[in-house]
Structure formats: structure tokens, C-alpha cells
Amino acid sequence: MSALTGHPPRREPRSILPWLATPALVVFVGFAVIPLVGVFALSFTTWDGIGAIHPSGLTSWRAVLTNPGLPHALWVTFLVMVVSWAVQTPLSILLGTFLAGRQRYRAVLGVVYFVPLMLSSAAIAIAYKALLDPNFGLGAGLRIHALSQDWLGRPGLAFGVVVFVVSWQFIPFHSLIYQGGVQQIPKSLYEAAQLDGAGRIRQFFSITLPQLKYTVITSSTLMVVGSLTFFDLIFVLTEGGPGDATRVLALDMYKRGFQANLMGPASAIAVILVLVGLALALLLRRLGGRDAGASQLEGV
């Protein structure tokens, strides 16, 4: 706080501006920044979530780092991130370009597209669980053998289902971002291309895609960092199973912390989650190639 009031701004004597920012700062520091520091601190303790907190040095870290579950959880997290990115990005670009068109039927389709965006992950996961039930779900009811697999009971299939449901939920959001991006492309580019005789596909690859570069970075950043937070959907859909086939880091943290009452190791995993998130955001920002003077994640 003193940092805010200690620097009297030059041209605005006794400006109230820092005070305007204070409420947001207080809540954010209290429930995001302090917890962020706290999670580092807690990773060097032993705590069962109820009793006293004991400092325990590197015990929790050792427990986490020597546990074979960690590389697996990291791998699953990485896989979910990459595969869902690879599924969502091309589809979102196509749909976004499609929605940027002016025809009325597209607008009407758009209304339906965004319904998944309104639903809670819990609701989506519960509905899909019933829909995919091997005995009573959609596939069994329609007597389509290919559709009546034990979707959530086999590791590979369960992973595929998670990626599918994630895409089902979030492609609408990202196609919306791309729609906005496409609409900001200067029309003169297309007119020039048309005069040069470039066809639709050529225009898409030579104009639309390159012009969407920053939009791709924005959308990918949100997708990638967001994929670290897939907790509720996977928790309700598979609980990390079968076995630990879909046990991503966030879920691993919850299970160790709030189910096994090992808050120390859970905090260590949370720290890893934070570091991965930061590293990814920085990497993507570098890829974006925007100057550092502008705000971080400027593309957003």
C-alpha cells in the first residue's frame, strides 16, 4: 500500500486514482497473490487439512517427485493440452470464418453453437456420462455397436472422450474469438486478392490465416492455460479413471489434498501447475512476437 501512496504523482496532486484501484488490489492480493505465495510455503509443510501445520522441509517435494504418479499426471496433462489444442484450433478457425459471414442462417446456427458455453462443466459431464453409457446410452438405444463401447471404462477411449467433451464445450468460445478476428481483417485485402484472381481457398490460406496470427496466439494461450484448469469436467466425468488414465495435474492435486488429506504434496503439485502455466504463457507470448513494452498477453 505504501508503495502506492508513497509516490506522489507529478501532475495530479493528491490524485484519487490509486485509491480507486485499491479495492480490486486488496481482494486480489488477499485471495490470489497471498495464496500463490502460500502454496509455495505450504509445499514445505505437512498438513492434513484440519490439524496443525508442521514445517517439514523437502519431505512433501520428495514424496511428490519420487512418486511415479507425477510423470504420469504431467504426461496426461500435456497430452490433453496438445490433443485438445490440435482438435479445437482448426475447427474453431473454420467455424469462426464461417460465422463471420453475413448470412442469416449462419447467425441462427451461431445461436445454437454457443449453448454449450452456458452450461456448467458438471452438467455437461453428467449428461455425457449418461449419453455414453454402454448399456443404456445413445449407442445401445440405437443399437449401433460402434457407439455402445465402454467409453469411460477403457483408458484410451476415456481419454478420447475427455478431449471430445472439452472440445464440445470450448470450441464455441474460440470460434467466437476467431469470428471477431476475421471481422477485423481489412476487406481491401480480399478485394485485391479477388482482382488478382485468387480463389476462396487461396484467399483463406494467403489472407485469412496469416491475418489471424495474433488471434491464434490469443486463443491458444487461453486454450493452453485453460487446459491446466480442467478439473470439474474430468472430476465428474471420469474421476481421473479408469485407473489413472485421465488423472491430470489439477485432479491429482485435489485428490491428494482433499481426499487423501496430504496438503503438503498437493501444494507441491499446485506449485508445479503454476510454473507450467507461467512457462506456457511466456512461451506463447514470445511466439506472439509482440514488444514487451505493451501489456502482457496483449493479444487477448
Binding site: L17, G38, T97, G180
Partner: protein
């Protein structure tokens, strides 16, 4: 902001011709996009349709009938079962938590965004902006264990306030980002003329900046409301008693109890989703146009 409306029902003479030029598909057919568009409609709509019609089936009929054919004699019994299991209480909890978190989150974020834009020369405010942006890059769920500890220490565990406070904090990064983007667009001359007229920052904030950025404020409000309304992790971790459940958590426990009665579970899904869909029907244009504008910069 105005160029992002998806629909052209509103007469916008100035941008109309421009958009026609932009959206080349007006002339020739975009087969790839069109095909993807219709396919995606099927992918999105079939599960929704299935959940809706199944929720209206008698349980015994559910196992026997074609899953995609609506029941000949639809029943509301499943809905009755859900509503009788304290649905109203969970609904009220969700409303309290959402309103209790969204209103302060948006007001605080707006004040902060205004300060950041107007006080960009002040190092402290720039640093604060950087701090908020950092929140975008960090999965805030990772902080849930210390949040849990803080809530216990504040003696707020198992209360609705326990859900409200962290929800405000989690909503701030994105809200500040979107709002600063919009406040930057307010012409500087307007601020200057307000100052010449002797207006304080406080007056300028509410009389000039707020009305001019109303679409952004609305968008941020809707977006945060959606996120908090659908929140699952915080209620799961920070509350315990059934009286404090919010809708997503109640849905999950209901599923545990009535898992065999699939139509009833789906009725619960539909019921918890309905309020949001009703709001979507009204606020759709605002939400979609605001989101496109807010994120595509």
C-alpha cells in the same frame, strides 16, 4: 464494438456495405465452412436434444424406447422429483453467490481499470496492471489449498461468503483486462473537457467513462456471472453442508443419489441449465458481440 455484431438485423447503414465486402461468402458458396457449420450443429444439438427429451420420459420407458424419439406421453414427474429435493434452496444459494461476487467484482475491476488507464504514468498503477495480468497466466485453481486455509482462518468455512470472496478475486484479471481495453478507447479530449469543467476523477469515472463503456461492463458482468454460476471447485472445497450447496454441486450430489434414474438426473441437468439459457436468450447479442470485441484485440 459495433463491427462485431454477428447479426445484421439492426440497421447499421455505415458498416453494412463494409461488412458485405468483408464477408466474401455473400457472393460465392463456402463449401468447407458450410459443411463444417452444419456438422457442428449436429454435434452440438444432438446431446442437448437427447438430454431434453430423455428428461421427459418415464424411467421404465427410458430403457426401452429409441433414445432419439421423444416420449409419446411426456411426464414432468422427473422435474417434480428434482424440485422436491431442495432445488429452490440451491438455486437461491447460486443467485446469492453469483450476485454477491459479480457486482463487487465488476465495480472494483472497473474502478481499477479506470485508474490504470488514467494513471498510466504512475509506476505503481502500471505494476498493479502487471500483477492482474499475471493472474491470467496462472491457473488460479492452483491456489485453492491456501484459499481453503485462509477461509478456515477467517471462520468462513461452509458459508456463502467463503465462495464469494475468492470468486471476486478470480474474476478480477480478465475483467480488468477487458475493461482497460475499452476505457483506452474513450477519446482523451473527453476526459480533458471534463477536467476543464472542474469534474473530479470520481465524477468522471461514473459520469463519463461508465456510460461510454457500458457494453463492456455488461459483457464482463455476464461473463463473470456465467463463470461463477457454473463454478464447481470452490463450492466443492469450501462448503460442506447440504444447505450451502450451489447448483453445480447439488447436481453432482443428486447424480450420486439418483444415478440409476437417468431421466431424473437429466431433468436436474436441464433445470440447473434453464436459468442460464433464459438469460442467454435475452442477453445473447450483448454477450456474443462483447466477447468478440473483448477478446479479439
Amino acid at each position: 464494438m459495433t463491427t462485431t455484431l454477428t447479426e445484421s438485423r439492426r440497421p447499421q447503414k455505415t458498416t453494412h456495405g463494409e461488412r458485405q465486402g468483408k464477408s466474401r461468402p455473400a457472393r460465392r458458396r463456402n463449401w468447407a465452412g458450410g459443411l463444417a457449420g452444419w456438422l457442428w450443429l449436429v454435434v452440438v444439438a444432438v446431446p442437448l436434444y437427447w438430454a431434453l427429451i430423455t428428461s421427459l420420459k418415464v424411467q421404465s420407458r427410458y430403457y426401452a424406447s429409441n433414445p432419439l424419439v421423444p416420449s409419446g406421453d411426456p411426464t414432468l414427474d422427473n422435474y417434480r422429483l428434482v424440485i422436491e429435493s431442495d432445488f429452490l434452496r440451491y438455486f437461491v444459494n447460486s443467485v446469492v453467490v453469483t450476485a454477491g461476487a459479480v457486482i463487487p467484482a465488476v465495480v472494483f475491476s472497473f474502478m481499477a481499470a479506470y485508474a490504470i488507464v488514467r494513471g498510466w504514468r504512475m509506476r505503481a498503477l502500471r505494476a498493479m496492471n502487471g500483477l492482474f495480468l499475471m493472474g491470467l497466466a496462472i491457473p488460479l485453481q492452483a491456489t485453492v489449498i491456501p484459499v481453503y486455509l485462509i477461509i478456515i482462518k477467517l471462520h468462513l468455512y461452509d458459508s456463502l461468503l467463503a465462495l464469494i470472496l475468492p470468486s471476486i478475486a478470480f474474476a478480477i484479471p480478465l475483467s480488468v483486462l477487458v475493461l482497460t481495453n475499452f476505457i483506452r478507447d474513450v477519446p482523451k479530449e473527453l476526459f480533458d473537457s471534463m477536467r476543464v469543467d472542474g469534474a473530479t476523477e470520481w465524477t468522471t469515472l461514473w459520469r463519463l467513462a461508465a456510460p461510454l463503456t457500458r457494453p463492456a461492463i455488461l459483457t464482463v458482468t455476464i461473463f463473470n456471472a456465467l463463470t461463477i454460476w457454473n463454478g464447481f471447485l470452490l463450492p466443492l472445497v469450501l462448503t460442506q453442508s447440504p444447505e450451502r450447496r450451489t447448483l453445480p454441486l447439488a447436481l453432482w450430489t443428486f447424480q450420486g443419489q439418483y444415478g440409476v434414474n437417468v431421466p431424473a438426473v437429466l431433468a436436474a441437468v436441464v433445470l440447473t441449465t434453464l436459468p442460464v439459457l433464459v438469460l442467454y436468450a435475452f442477453g445473447r447479442r450483448q454477450l456474443l458481440s462483447g466477447l468478440t470485441a473483448g477478446f479479439s484485440r
